[in-house]
Symmetry: C2
Subunit: 619 residues, 2 copies
């Protein structure tokens, strides 16, 4: 049940995404390219993430009863951070609940106030005089006489006669980046579309845009079929390298996914795929290499370099993309082997490099990408956080799906939990683990070094509800129990083990030490950070106080300076789709960013070792 | 026997061509790109076309006995205009016998003194530092650091890692027109080749060149496989237009021919086809359209316009050409539907536009292309001469092959003939027909209007050998007998009929009136022509005096001003192959040339009608 996909439609945009049952509405909205504002970090305390279910509303939670009156609840008002739909639903997001609606920083990332549209695609309707004995100008030159000098694709030349004849010498010239790629009978100037695609290691998201207005017409998402071959990028690189048709197979997998998304977007909007003339693809460096069919071997070997960092442009037919066969497909430039086009897109979408002061952009996932901007100067690096934040390698870990403990808090000396979907707990996801560890650290169950204390070692003022959860086994190893085993022995319950804490220490330590290395390189103290931008799905669920308590985010940065910015990879790709100056800017930023290579830095090992020790309580 | 192909090898260049048995050595040499000097027009009188057979010499003719001593004849010296090899032969051409060796006008068209080489292909050997943790520059950017900014083909990016690794990061970058199309392990800078191709309606000729030196390494020729579908361009246009895969079939036919020629050239020279990076194709407009896969429908319908006049550039893989798959294939620009890239190539090869004074370039074939140059200004047109010059539609007509009467002269009041190969006459070819008609006109057998007189109508001083050849049938129609019917009735003999004369009148009249229209347009009198350049195979065999007598060439132009310039289509393609400035010049000439459309010109019908009347004898 929990694994079956359901459709969530968001109004007034009409965007529909398919997600797993129990997925938090915040995440579903993010997949749809809609970032809901969550000043409290999804903690159900600020009440800002108001949405109205037109259909599919679940019973209101306690928190929702606090924020809404009975009439509002009856009308379907809920908090997006509490809503985990388990059935096909239609949800209205008031503009006041959208992140972009309120904060200047991302206002320009919405289509309503996006970049000045200059996407490089022009359609020109012409009515040519038919050739006569008195005017024997050749077809191509006759067309150029009207539309001006341009490159002309061989395909257009080959079939031009029939097209001109079919429509009595009138029709629409289609120019992409200065090349005539088609001549369509009749006036089709109003049908001019493009696609932005975020190729994630796990999830693909694509949006369809009207290139005349920039309007987003539809969004769709699906699981990256490459996951059948392996969950992480290194497995896929190995497959591409060692198997004879491995690269082809991986390229085909993602190409087929993209083609299916294009088809779905076209079906939803009744747009003809022949009218899609350009696409922009953003993803991490490995995903972009595989999607473009580039041998990724060098990404899997020391010193882990890409084949090319500059943006590439291919034709759709080279990629079997189901758009116009000569559509131009632009890949974002990358910064390095582990800092990819998704990060460059993030810089474009957040305009981090153009902001005054110091900003930190963090995209937390298996691989954390971190960029520090100081007055337009950029330092970028990546940190191998490992999959702990996604619930992997954690004894009771799971993805953020129905039944996952996603929040742990201490109220009146009692530890309380929320699970996704409000159902019985099945495991713990990344944000829940961070919360739990922060509580254990705060209450003294964990030492700063991450050792779990036995009951008789904890400080004397530790709440009883905390102490009773500490269990010690025959090998004198401690575990921290969140949920009891079923009485009838059906389930072992949910615990946090010493090993889980070590995994978390490694993950948080990687992000923390990488951040500190960038700050050091730029000569900035963490307290001088003006903004921290948290990108990616995970960023939207993390509790800022817990993350800061564990050192995952720098301390001394006020909560209101920490912003959840959602899927900036897709939004950046959209900018680049709609604006050639954004495309040029992306190239410039990728070239300008200094890639900080941690593995060769002597300081890094020290930093990393230090970062494994949790920060002292500064509250 | 007569139709079996034989190989002729020319020394010292080593070029080999396959020709039909009995083909005149002048024509075989022209196919090999070698123009032998024939001031007397191939009449065996000047003795300038001296060649030496190393093998395969035939018995010496009377004319050869006059020009050579017995020792010379024993050593294999012969006249190229008399030699019609019937077996595989090796022939040495002394430099003094080559047209280009003596006449300034074409000196620069030989590879020895050709254009300054600037073919747009660069090979750069580089030894790159292997990436290290301290130098993590990506592969592509590492290469660009050495060779400079350039466009990079997607194929190179996709496979670059393996190629760099295979050769320890050294290798040779291959740049064509500013785009990196390959990276080859090791130092391959010395292997850099290109191909020039002349796509004739009937015959294809291709030459392989070393792009570093411009040297021509080999030449090959073959029959255009499209002839299986139809002999003339209109039949092929109709096939492309009416049959569902007609265009594809015609394109494939010529592509397969070209690929076979590439393979043959590579075999002859041990050059790898992977090292052929560029090719230039010249042909008439229809041949170029079909070779490039362009729908030729508009070339077959009023007002007979091309789809594109500007030069095209395709990649070899688009044409299945067996060179480097990303080799750039340039098609010459064309002037109009019936004045094609072969004519533009002719302008390049003869530098007609750059010469002082007035020049006329005539390429006689089924379709005659004529260009008039006056101080750099160009007027171009085409004349539908019909196939009479190639022996078609003539009662006893045949192609210029063994057994064809190719010369008719009056010596001591006796009509004498020579046949190709010196064998018994089987028919009459174009040059023989022109000679015969000129003699008939001169002796009064033909009236200026082209009517054949009966025996009792001819002038009283007509030689008896002429008069006896006039025969009148029961319908009072005259024929002129060249060869008697066999006594045993096996053959009807060879005659020129009234209808044959009419066909010739039409053909010569078309060329003559078109020439006169150009002269009129340019305001030039024929007597002010400084040079007439006769291009194409046919031009090499025509007797200038006969052609002038019939009005095919303007009178009042001294024989030494009429030059046979051979296959200028191939030579022009070679220039464009070796020189980007020649390529640009071709575009400029094609655009600059004024296409004179005869069918819409009111004067033309008058001119044509007048041109049907043979000129008065001005001797």
């Amino acid at each position: 049940m929990a694994e079956s996909p359901i459709n969530i439609t968001f109004e007034p945009t009409g965007r529909t995404v398919a997600v797993l049952s129990g997925t938090c509405l915040l995440e579903a909205a993010a997949q749809a390219g809609l970032t809901i504002d969550t000043p409290c970090g999804g903690g159900a305390t600020c009440g800002k993430c108001r949405v109205r279910f037109r259909s599919g509303a679940l019973p209101a939670t306690t928190a929702e009863h606090e924020h809404f009156g009975p009439a509002e609840l009856d009308a379907g008002w809920r908090l997006a951070c509490r809503a985990h739909p388990t059935t096909t639903s239609c949800v209205e997001i008031p503009v006041g609940s959208l992140f972009a609606g309120k904060h200047q920083i991302l206002q320009t990332a919405t289509s309503a106030a996006g970049p000045a549209i200059d996407c490089g695609v022009r359609k020109i309707y012409v009515e040519l005089a038919a050739p006569t004995l008195a005017d024997t100008t050749a077809h191509v030159e006759r067309l150029i006489r009207e539309i001006g000098e341009c490159e002309i694709s061989a395909g257009v030349v080959r079939g031009l006669h029939a097209k001109l004849r079919a429509a009595s010498f009138s029709g629409t010239a289609v120019l992409v980046d200065g090349t005539l790629i088609d001549f369509e009978p009749g006036d089709t100037t109003s049908a001019c579309y493009g696609i932005a695609i975020d190729i994630g290691t796990t999830t693909l998201v694509a949006s369809l845009h009207d290139l005349s207005t920039g309007d987003e017409l539809a969004v769709t998402a699906r699981v990256n079929s490459q996951t059948r071959i392996g969950d992480d990028v290194l497995t896929r690189i190995r497959h591409a390298t060692s198997s004879s048709h491995g690269l082809e197979q991986l390229q085909q997998a993602v190409a087929t996914d993209c083609a299916a998304m294009v088809q779905q977007l076209c079906q939803q909007t009744a747009v003809s795929r022949q009218h899609i003339y350009t696409a922009v693809i953003a993803g991490n460096t490995t995903m972009q290499h595989l999607a473009a069919g580039i041998d990724p071997t060098s990404l899997g070997q020391v010193p882990f370099i890409p084949v090319q960092t500059a943006g590439m442009c291919l034709e759709a037919r080279d990629l079997d993309l189901a758009t116009h066969p000569e559509a131009r497909i632009h890949f974002l430039p990358v910064i390095g082997g582990f800092v990819g086009g998704d990060t460059v897109a993030g810089l474009i979408a957040t305009q981090a490099a153009d902001r005054e002061g110091n900003s930190l952009l963090i995209d937390v996932g298996t691989n954390g990408e971190i960029v520090l901007a100081r007055d337009g100067q950029l330092w970028a690096t990546s940190a191998a956080a490992g999959p702990a934040f996604e619930g992997a390698r954690i004894s009771c870990g799971m993805r953020a799906a129905e039944g996952a403990i996603e929040k742990v808090s201490l109220t009146d000396d009692q530890l309380t939990f929320s699970t996704i979907g409000g159902v019985a707990a099945r495991g713990i996801c990344g944000s829940g683990l961070i919360d739990a560890a922060a509580q254990m650290l705060q209450s003294g169950v964990l030492t700063p070094e991450g050792r779990m204390r036995a009951r008789d070692e904890v400080p004397h003022d530790t709440p009883a509800d905390i102490v009773r959860r500490i269990e010690t086994d025959a090998q004198e190893k401690q575990t921290f129990r969140l949920v009891n085993a079923d009485g009838d022995g059906r389930g072992p319950g949910i615990t946090v083990t010493q090993q889980d804490v070590r995994e978390l220490q490694l993950a948080a330590g990687a992000i923390r030490s990488a951040t500190r290395m960038l700050l050091k390189r730029a000569g900035i103290d963490a307290s001088n950070l003006n903004t921290i931008l948290l990108a990616g799905g995970f960023g939207s669920f993390i509790r800022r106080s817990s993350a800061q308590r564990l050192g995952l985010l720098p301390p001394n940065v006020a909560h209101e300076q920490i912003r959840f910015v959602g899927n900036t990879s897709l939004r950046g790709a959209q900018w680049v789709l709609l604006s050639r100056s954004a495309r040029a800017k992306a190239e410039q930023l990728a070239r300008q960013a200094e890639l900080v290579e941690l593995s060769t830095d002597r300081d890094f090992l020290n930093e990393f070792t230090e970062a494994m020790i949790f920060p002292a309580d500064d509250t």
